[in-house]
Symmetry: C3
Amino acid sequence: MPLTDDYINTKFANLEYSTDTFYLLYAGALVFLMQAGFAMLCAGSVRAKNAKNIMLKNVLDACVGALGFWAVGYGIAYGNLNGGNWFCGDSLFFLVDYENDNSYEGWFFQFAFAATAATIVSGSVAERCHMGAYVCYSTVLTAWVYPVVVHWIWSSDGWLSAFNPNPLNDIGVVDFAGCGVVHMVGGVAAMAGAAVLGPRIGRFNEDGTVNDMPGHNSALVVLGTFLLWFGWYGFNPGSTLGITADGYAWVASKTAVTTTLSAASGAVANLVLQYHLCGGGRHIYDLEATCNGALAGLVGITSACPVVDPWAAVVIGAIASVWYQVGAKLMIKMRIDDVVNAAPVHLFAGMWGLIAPGLFASGTNMRTAYGADPDIYGCLLGAKKCGNLLGNQLLALVMILLWTFGHMIPFFMLLKVAGIFRVTEEQEEDGLDVSKHGGSAYQMDDSSTKIKKPDDVKV
Amino acid sequence: MPLTDDYINTKFANLEYSTDTFYLLYAGALVFLMQAGFAMLCAGSVRAKNAKNIMLKNVLDACVGALGFWAVGYGIAYGNLNGGNWFCGDSLFFLVDYENDNSYEGWFFQFAFAATAATIVSGSVAERCHMGAYVCYSTVLTAWVYPVVVHWIWSSDGWLSAFNPNPLNDIGVVDFAGCGVVHMVGGVAAMAGAAVLGPRIGRFNEDGTVNDMPGHNSALVVLGTFLLWFGWYGFNPGSTLGITADGYAWVASKTAVTTTLSAASGAVANLVLQYHLCGGGRHIYDLEATCNGALAGLVGITSACPVVDPWAAVVIGAIASVWYQVGAKLMIKMRIDDVVNAAPVHLFAGMWGLIAPGLFASGTNMRTAYGADPDIYGCLLGAKKCGNLLGNQLLALVMILLWTFGHMIPFFMLLKVAGIFRVTEEQEEDGLDVSKHGGSAYQMDDSSTKIKKPDDVKV
Amino acid sequence: MPLTDDYINTKFANLEYSTDTFYLLYAGALVFLMQAGFAMLCAGSVRAKNAKNIMLKNVLDACVGALGFWAVGYGIAYGNLNGGNWFCGDSLFFLVDYENDNSYEGWFFQFAFAATAATIVSGSVAERCHMGAYVCYSTVLTAWVYPVVVHWIWSSDGWLSAFNPNPLNDIGVVDFAGCGVVHMVGGVAAMAGAAVLGPRIGRFNEDGTVNDMPGHNSALVVLGTFLLWFGWYGFNPGSTLGITADGYAWVASKTAVTTTLSAASGAVANLVLQYHLCGGGRHIYDLEATCNGALAGLVGITSACPVVDPWAAVVIGAIASVWYQVGAKLMIKMRIDDVVNAAPVHLFAGMWGLIAPGLFASGTNMRTAYGADPDIYGCLLGAKKCGNLLGNQLLALVMILLWTFGHMIPFFMLLKVAGIFRVTEEQEEDGLDVSKHGGSAYQMDDSSTKIKKPDDVKV
């Protein structure tokens, strides 16, 4: 029997669906591994006496995030079984009625993003935040604050979405993998949390000077940075949400290149900045600053990755490290104690990243990746209608700041007033691992005991 | 020349084969990375003086496992060139005649599973087991004990297999990614090994109380946990063994969701259990227990992942942590010193996981994933023929216990009688790293030496 | 409207392109993660006082490598817009005019390889090389020395290339994933660097004996080894550069199997060699040697992986560990202080690996993977024209040695003469972390402080 057209079409559709599903499972797994990256980065950046505490927070925000995003968050972000509206979704809670959707891979990929947004905060409030408060925060962020922004910018109903059939100013907001949606939301929460919580004991002196409180393990910082960078190859290329549709493979591979170059450029730029300008006169090759520069470069390219050329990615990464440095100085100026510089990396480089497409997006790329009007692209490249794009980007930036600060500051103040936000002074000074987690993360004594007589041991 | 149907069919077949091969290479690589996860988890969970020892065991069981599975194991599991039989395979040893098979990717994926089964034991017998004995054990497990169970449950000839043309009770055993095949086999071996080997010196007191012997590095424990969780996204979704066949992509993506939710739920449940009920009155937020809860949740969903709905995955994960706690208490009660709680995680949560499909599998899912009779699904969901499924699951559980204990206890006792199972008391107390591996895993002294005069150094 | 042949052909082409792109993005990401592997392996292998230094070098060679390979290297390797020549490419610099190529995924994958070649050196010159010199080196290697060898052996214009329309001796050089191109180039640079730089203070005694300078953290060594092994599943299988073309999936999956077996065999063989023959009479189970054996096995199979049968992979891996041991002894004999044994692993096992196809390649495999003349395969398997292959392999080996030593020795001597290659004696003895990077990588003191009164703290 000869092959029918129906048969062939079905075969193609099935192959495309299979390959796209595989692609999202792959990308989602890489993004999930960023949880390990954050855990190692944060653990290495705190003092040894709080290592278990912060890692438990990292584990828990992934877990609470999964449950919160299952129960509520995904529905708020994408639930449109009732027709959809511009503000937030209203169905698919608990993934009920989800099977008709045929897209479990979509939930998996989006969950990994939600967990990323949530975990950004752990580092900024480290070493003094109460565990219960942190669990409350994770729930609120993954179930409400974050998914609403997702809905605005990524769902087909959202009022700022580029995927809205009638997008704002004919283009909507270009936030490909989430400078605004993920990193700014996480970064604002990180800044708000650290500000309301107050600095660690001994961090700032009366005279305005700062006491350095170095992290306890640089190897964990580097490991975390590389795991995050690796995970970004799921985060950015994966944000096509598929690989078989026309042009998607080209876009995905371009994002891998721009992501790489921006990270590299951010790292090198930040090393140089820290050595010459921002190191307070200490001319050192700063490992942590270099790692944070790579991360700033990665955050900075997260909106623009599919719409800029390689040279622009190099520029964007370098400028991201400037925003990082400004953010870091500002934190200190405001006496906000952000232990791992989460706000400089995610909020400040994230703001820059959200603006970047408005400046550097090329016309060709905008048409390929977003089907844009030929006159809508980056202002620095001379677009006729560049205001449409740049205007949208700035509007989204402001709205995300308002929405997230507007929720998180009151929320954290509530926790503070209720007296459940911060551990006691004594617990803080003893270290949270001893106070709350049954002992230090490290038991190294016996390794130095080369010879111990049997009768010394209590049997 | 117009396209012929043959041409089109060949093209489709080739694309499907390519994509499926890629999928298995991807999934196998993720499962392989679980070796790193086990190594870090185990290393962090032992005392510093035995860190090199356990990591060498982890490296070696992967290597010996590869060689054993190449030479013998794979043939026992899947070798059916002589027609096949219900008990074990009998060909394809050393991968000879394998090329006709066209499925190197199959060996690779299966090897990664075998290595996982093998490495489960390293943690339970840590800190006192002789290296040579461990290598013997790895060989026996990967070449014989484990592959026979694989043949029973996963090959198309196995007497318990759901893929047998005439499956037991019309359905066979639903052990999708191996709660029984991998985790119970590894977990039984872990329990048997620890029981026969006896506890570490100083672990149990005469009066029945237990001395806590905390691991030396919590950062490694968390890193290991996250690497294992990441690897599970190869382990469970990869167990479709392909992605293009009708329905496979849907099944694979569903398993990613249920795997995530069960892990999350297991972690949270175990944190709560440990805090309120099982911590011996110490109200601490226990990091290791939370990590083990996530792992118990992951093990617990490994059979049921494609056949249950998301809510059921949450329930299964939470109950897995109860089984974990029961297992942990039982180990102590029986004065079995399982250093990393390998048996509670892999055997106890594994038994629960093997039972779970018999209770929670939904009809729709059973039909999609296993082409089941419409009346065969989980008892708690009201299936008419639920006994078929639950009965098979319980039968498999019993058979795996009998087969694995039946082999491993005599085997370990043989090693014990031969006097090659356990290191000497002095070696144990000095630590195995100093006794057997040339020195401690850590040489931290020089890092504190800020200034050392050149003439202090022996040149 | 019925489907046209054009439509169907376009659909197939697009699916193949999408799947191949995905495959390269996946494989490239895995290869990129090898950066984390090298960083951990190297960090663990140096003394604690130089941990930050070496990790910063590892981060920077990835970053500088990305920028150098973007600006110049890729064009040297593959730029053939002007027609191409046998020696080196001459276009595509800065990825300008690259879009017509439609292959960003190709740059990404190749960048990851370039970064791998670059980072091999960091370990051999560890603990005494100046940061600025290292950055210069990374630039020169990724922008010139390495890409020229790539062009020779992998581009379709290269004079040694198997992909040249008129390949040398009808076959060109079989260096599938780069024993010669990547590992020998990196290994030669590592050996040259360590030789010119001179040994660490205190490494060699006047009487010819050697002082052991053990690395500070074995857990990082094992983690690094496993991450590298994992990354090799991108490195070797990914080197098909696609998965959909006829036979590619079969070749890719075969390489996964041979890679696994060679690694396993190399590890076991090196453990045994070190215990019985090469450990200087110390009968220890050497963890680092076992890890290096696995790496030697991985390097050793990197040329031959698609063209040998599984049994041959086992043999090749075992012999790779012999070459490793010979290399290690030779380094000591020549008083070259190669801190992590980079040259034994990458140069010596790499030379063996480049020779191996000339001995063990099977006829069937050579035809499938390289479309070879039926008489061209391994000498030990009795090929009629085995000299064609073995001769080419030896020629490539010699040319790579000449080219790379010929560049790197003068380059390093220039750095030495300019006085910017090595840190001062005092800096070396203090440790580079304190001298150059603002302090030790580890701040463990507070973890032992169980109780600290509030009034002890400077507020």
